[in-house]
Symmetry: C2
Subunit: 388 residues, 2 copies
Amino acid sequence: MRITRIIETPLRLESNISNAFVNFSHHTVSLIAIVTDQIVGGKPVIGISFNSIGRYAQSGILKDRMIPRLLAEDPENLLQEDGKLFSPEKISRVALRNEKPGGHGDRAHALAGLELAVWDLNAKLNDEPASHTIARHFGRESAASEVHVYAAGGYYYPGEDLDALRAELARYAGQGFTRFKMKIGGASLDADKQRIDAALEVAGSGTNLAVDANGRFDLDTALQYARALDPYALMWFEEAGDPLDYELNSALAQVYGGALATGENLFSAIDVKNLILFGGMRPGQDVFQMDSGLSYGVTEYARMLHEMESRGFSRKQAFPHGGQLLALHVVAGLGLGGCEVYPSIFQPLGGFGDKDVIVNGKLRVGDAPGFGLETKSALIKKFTELVS
Amino acid sequence: MRITRIIETPLRLESNISNAFVNFSHHTVSLIAIVTDQIVGGKPVIGISFNSIGRYAQSGILKDRMIPRLLAEDPENLLQEDGKLFSPEKISRVALRNEKPGGHGDRAHALAGLELAVWDLNAKLNDEPASHTIARHFGRESAASEVHVYAAGGYYYPGEDLDALRAELARYAGQGFTRFKMKIGGASLDADKQRIDAALEVAGSGTNLAVDANGRFDLDTALQYARALDPYALMWFEEAGDPLDYELNSALAQVYGGALATGENLFSAIDVKNLILFGGMRPGQDVFQMDSGLSYGVTEYARMLHEMESRGFSRKQAFPHGGQLLALHVVAGLGLGGCEVYPSIFQPLGGFGDKDVIVNGKLRVGDAPGFGLETKSALIKKFTELVS
């Protein structure tokens, strides 16, 4: 069994006019296909994936470094012991050959896309959803059949802010969501408090509403917000400052009684270890948002979970960033707390299958083999073009 | 005044047969040229540089993201206030537009090459060495006219190890070096102690000899080495463990009386802040090896120095990784402790000008405009091909 081709192409995310205040129009993602010599139903088995959402395509690193290393390797060295599946660990090791430690950025996004394609491939070889393959690989009894999801958005709408914000969240509620996340930090604290009050009219209670500062606060502003947000008892307060500023996060944890959330911009297990040791994260309380689709894949994500669990944290505290089918299967397969979704934006990558429906804040994981990207018509069209 | 073209090409480092135990044959570096509309002597003024040594070329990130952002910007917005020089800060900001925080890896190497080319360009517009331009920009009275350098190498030579190691260091001593750095961790601790004893026969005293573990030790091994190395009173003990493992570094600092050195694999000011706050680094003692050529350039390097100096560390504790003309001018311009050089390897990028001579462990900074890459014939040939 061997890989015959690895194909990558950058895809530009579609800009969404109804969310014109957020500029995603320059963001790209790598679509990746791993083609094998295994034939099922007259066609080669192909693993497909992409490197999550929100950073960039990694055509250069993939084509100049990782793909040549994999194609130059003896195919036997890329398989699991029994020779029946590909080995995500071995493939990761070969893809990173001659790479120095440290510098977990674009390289982590590049390998993430590749490694997730291996999971899609293995699941298709097993003819099962990727969540099942992931669960079995990591020694779990079963994958979750449904996953808690929440709707992220809650944008600023200059001039008609409160009404438009309420309308946006009400739209999500109408789609079956019960929990929501909104932006803060783009206005004054007073204006943000008014926005939170407006959002709570839809969310019903603070436990159903998270706020996201997107890393923009310095220490003083973060502390000021923490004190003001505390009485709301929110679902969580997300990325107050620079994602690597552990001193800031630790200071926040001292004054903020609710849950802090961070980690979507940490891309390696050693960074997660540092967040735990020095960032003041609290077992049973704070939320970890690392995204396997940006962080070297599920292999490294499992190491991140080890950093958490060996220090008293629960994997239920993990709510990966991402908001697409890849993250959904990782959450179900590893038994994590839940995952986010940005309803209707980041297309054609964001969200789930065409027929997937949110019911009471939960989503049933589909039965399609692999990550089920084939159940998302606008996306699978792009992959069909890629491998044709 | 405006940029007319930005050109990048990957260059494969020459493998050096006499150092066959280290495989550099797959390493690449981006050569970068910024061409302007300024004409001097009938030719356009061109800034050139590369992204240091030891990581990889960044053709994808440069061509897909950074260069298009710069060429799309209003040229006025890339100049310093007086309009007479390009602004490294503004160019960095535009090159990073729409990039999220965190993930300081390949992206940092990509911008580093670009930003250093701006310094070469500005220095050429001023008709002076880059060290002068850098010193003036950061408010320093003058640039150092000479820089302390040390010879890095000290490889393993299976079968003839001690003799070959002594011969290697003796060759460096013959070239004018008085301080040396050798590899450890590739053999048993006992064998490494024998190697250190052999190296000391050439180095004369522990203060002239550093050891480099290249990040390969776990905590127990690092502590074992620290205790064994302590009596040697070495120049420093470099990169014992993972560069981001602050817990390990801090534990080492508790037991090791000499200087620890690390940082060549940290690529942002926030990582340096964390190393200082959580890694146990000691003012007046330990050594910081961050390399502006891998870390977003001199603009970010100045922020790193601020993290150090605002917490009681001296810039004389900074000995950048790199070992080429770019690092030499940064060290001279910013008044740092010194820099490394890998004599005769990493060609054609490593080392200094053809006529530069080490005298008593020091090197005079040349008078050529910019970084003086034109004084290194094998290298400037590559740039000439690039811009032709």
